[in-house]
Amino acid sequence: MTTPTIDDLQAITEQVWLSYLDPEGITPFLPSEESPGMPCVLATVSVTGAWDGHVVMTFSQKASRLSASALLGMEEEEVSIDDIADAVGELVNVIGGNVKSLLPDGSLLSLPHVATIDEGVNKWPAAVEVCRLQGSWQNEPIAITVLTSKSSG
């Protein structure tokens, strides 16, 4: 079975950044070996069917705000929590859809889910990590993780 790799995730992420967040190529997403630290905003889509798992994007508060500002064409200070939820939800939807295209036919993509994490609790007990791309954008940490459900083999 084909599963996404970190190279796949990086290619997808670069394309999404060029299309929506950084069309001029001035502030690209920069992959890093360093852990991005405690996320504050988390956006997920689930894949079910022929392959079961999740695509999860985590952002610092600032990175989520910058993303919404860039996507919606707003000043950073004007961005509301609804703007952030809409913007990061669409980012994970597009990245998740492109991850799904690497998976066996017959998989379905859920609508996105966005949560803020105040307590630092960030666990998927029924899933294991397939690959993870972490890095920074405008010096703010962002990570993208593909998880597969333990039952999907």
Binding site: L18, D86, G96, N98, K100
Partner: protein, 129 residues
């Protein structure tokens, strides 16, 4: 001025598409899902020349919208273009079989949207190149 209907549950994506099709000379209407779009179509005169339609949306998804529109004679002149992350071959075939005319996979560039609209004869070719 020609009109376009952008149907996507993401406000950010509607805004991105609005910018592109406005630049191409369209007046733009927006809906957050297929049901909202059908309701909006009841109020629009003239009918939009083209609808840009996301697939995965709450309440009524893009495929259901395409099927509903194609079942009604009065909408037959409206061009339907899917703009979605759904890239599975079988899904593309389903959308085209249901009556969509074109298919764009996200992420897209403004040039890609312009090229598809040019292929459909809705804008001159090379408008954004």
């Amino acid at each position: 001025m020609p009109t376009a209907l952008v149907i996507d549950d993401s406000r950010a994506m509607r805004l991105i598409l609005r910018r592109i099709v406005t630049q191409l000379g369209f007046e733009v209407h927006e809906a957050g899902n297929g049901r909202e779009a059908l309701e909006l179509l009841e109020t629009l005169d003239p009918m939009p020349q083209v609808a840009l339609i996301d697939w995965n949306m709450p309440e009524m998804n893009g495929l259901e919208f395409v099927t509903a529109v194609r079942s009604q004679e009065r909408f037959r002149r409206m061009t339907l273009m899917m703009v979605t992350t759904e890239s599975e071959h079988g899904q593309i075939v389903r959308a085209l079989a249901a009556g969509a005319h074109e298919y764009v996979i996200k992420p897209f560039t403004p040039e890609a949207i312009a090229e598809k609209l040019a292929l459909l004869g809705l804008v001159p070719s090379g408008t954004m190149s």
